[in-house]
Symmetry: C2
Subunit: 405 residues, 2 copies
């Protein structure tokens, strides 16, 4: 390979390694592969078990014809079984690349064939094709990189042997970057699930449902974005807000579960949960725990200074607390609890608006109310079902042995 291509590959490898968002990474890989081979189009499939999952596609002809956004919408993710019939399946099974100069005259000894339905459906003429396996360090196929129609000016030409060499080397770099991005995603998912599970478990004591926590977190992220917080902080709030009520672990059953109205002394005990939450979460360097401490401490502060525990006013209340306050109250009003039915949306919104500038930050409330379509979608996605209200009903009939597996 020529030196300047190698130097380019070195730089590309560094750029790929720095991208941890899997979708962005796959798009970047495909774009670079197109550039290195002058391909008009291409796709990436990831292997999962005995299936190939179509992940991303780029095609200059389609981008010109329909625009990039519309093209992407047209090519949604799909799965296909790994069999030797399709070109990508063949490469996934053999682990060897395929360089076909004309898919309409595939050598007879090759088991796979070209499926013309894609061309027919999209009025496209696939001619040359380069299909490269993406291998991990143990030579397992983790995905397939498929490139279509190498271009020489306006003419479709075959992919060259150099193209094959370059993309093979490139695909090794791409594979390790993909695995790293997957690892990052897996680690994040594992933490998010841990947070939601344990926060929901803590909520079991006062019959908050697991879905309550998911709704509130989602409302918080939505509001943060609408209020113009950067997307990283909005995401962090999604992670941190489930823990805002963790201090209720320090409130005795007798108060937490008391039906009817609390005495002033009991109320005082109950209100300690924001402070207890902050104590549970104090002295951490982890961004998510730090933010959850702030949310725990200040989610009962009120805009007009009449909240607790600090009686902060206006923007002296950290934005985490102001956001969680709106999301939490909205969800309490708009969902069923064991002691009350859900209020109709009209009534909920009237109550919320009535508290604008008293309980709630007026700007944040406006941002929230402007996003009611998205709010309703979140509410529908995490709707409580009847059985959610009796968490431990299933313990009576559960087959304990089934939980072993």
């Amino acid at each position: 390979m020529i030196t300047n291509i190698l130097e380019e590959l070195l730089n590309v490898g560094i750029a790929l390694s720095g991208e941890h968002d899997l979708d962005k990474l796959l798009d970047m890989i495909l774009m670079e592969a197109q550039r290195l081979t002058n391909a008009d189009g291409g796709s990436i499939y990831l292997a999962e078990g005995d299936k190939l999952i179509f992940k991303v596609s780029r095609n200059n002809t389609f981008f010109k014809r329909w625009g990039e956004a519309k093209t992407r919408q047209m090519f949604k993710s799909f799965e296909m079984p790994i069999t030797k019939k399709s070109m990508s399946g063949y490469v996934a099974l053999t682990g060897k690349p395929l360089n076909i100069s004309n898919v309409h005259c595939i050598p007879e000894n090759l088991e796979c064939s070209y499926d013309p339905s894609f061309d027919k459906k999209n009025e496209y003429n696939t001619v040359s094709m380069l299909v490269i396996p993406m291998l991990d360090r143990e030579n397992n196929v983790i995905g397939i990189l498929q490139l279509i129609n190498s271009m020489d000016a306006d003419k479709v030409v075959p992919f060259t042997d150099d193209h094959l060499k370059i993309t093979s080397s490139f695909s090794s770099q791409a594979s390790v970057a993909i695995q790293n991005a997957k690892l990052t995603k897996d680690l994040k998912n594992a933490q998010l699930e841990t947070i939601f599970r344990l926060s929901a478990a803590a909520g079991y004591r006062d019959k908050e449902t697991a879905n309550h926590i998911k709704r509130v977190s989602s409302y918080c992220r939505l509001m943060a974005k609408k209020a113009g917080l950067d997307s990283e902080k909005a995401e962090l709030l999604f992670w941190a807000s489930p823990m805002h009520d963790i201090g209720k672990l320090g409130v005795p059953d007798a108060i937490l579960l008391k039906p009817g109205i609390l005495t002033p002394e009991e109320r005082k005990e109950m209100e300690k949960h924001s402070l207890i939450g902050a104590l549970i979460l104090k002295d951490s360097k982890e961004a998510v725990i730090v933010m959850s401490r702030i949310a725990a401490l200040t989610h009962h502060e009120k805009w007009d200074g009449t909240g607790y525990p600090l009686g902060l006013k206006g923007t002296d209340i950290p934005i985490e607390g102001r956001i969680v306050a709106i999301a939490d109250v909205f969800d309490a009003l708009s969902s069923k609890r064991c002691y009350k039915d859900a209020f109709p949306e009209e009534k909920v919104l009237a109550i919320m608006k009535d508290s604008r500038g008293k309980h709630f930050d007026p700007d944040l409330l406006d941002a929230f109310l402007c996003a009611m379509d998205e709010v309703r979608a979140i509410k529908a996605e995490y709707e409580d079902k009847e059985e959610d209200f009796d968490k431990f009903s299933d313990i009576k009939n559960v087959d304990a042995a089934s939980l072993l597996k």
Copy 2:
């Protein structure tokens, strides 16, 4: 640069990207840098704030003289301020590499100088030196790669311009790999802290201390290793075991906190915590949650089949449950609780041994008892202090506003 070096760099980059353990990665980086420049020795420093942290060192002369293990022991991690006086500090401040053919004749216009104390102390003669900044994609210095004495057969020679070019390119690859390894470490730390915090918070209700959870997890990991589980599974158990008692969230205060002996009915309610824990943690794909479900469900099973909830016998009890059982009982006996003092070690061990083959898996217990030195070290590291027993004592005097920061 010549083609085969570039191809080598491509492969090295892929190998570095695949290594997620920061210490192993730094060692690998240093070894490759030595190989690429034929250097006798070298070190890597990572930048943290206004300090350089010495992380790893390799030196062929010392490895020959003292052996690798002893050499590594001699060069423990240390910190140094970033100033222009030292060569590595100079490179960290300027972001430019230094190639010095003889450190004993440093050009007068250079602000930094060579500190001869290292050579004196270790009977070594540093002559040529190559100091390379490791830069992130925004050109911030994340570390320093320092190479000593390029060798030509047995003679020390200066590092060449090619060495400078190669290691500069290599250091970009190394930087992104280091940042990825750090990200992985940060994500893992964040999750581990979340697990310990929230599990400890749940334990607050029945006055288990946060250190109890840390000790039990550490005993579990130790036992798993001693019993020959692979180190990944042992590590996973360290993460999963803190959640083994999470089902106590489903046990009412009246039973959980009752002083004295429980009635048979209360006991039955109490024993439900293992089943409730498994229900809280069921239906997850995350390895850590899956393992914690098994530990929650089976940590009160007994080797002779007299445990609950399933009455499993011997190796029918998953190893997670068998391990947690030993760690949990050992810690309960050997630490102070609000209702009892810590038993002396002799008494604890007598009780444990008496339960060998009855309550406990005999092989696992033997593995645990053989590791008493390490057990004692864990016990000492996470010793309960007097204030740990009154979790919310600090709520009386806490300055709530201080928790805002």
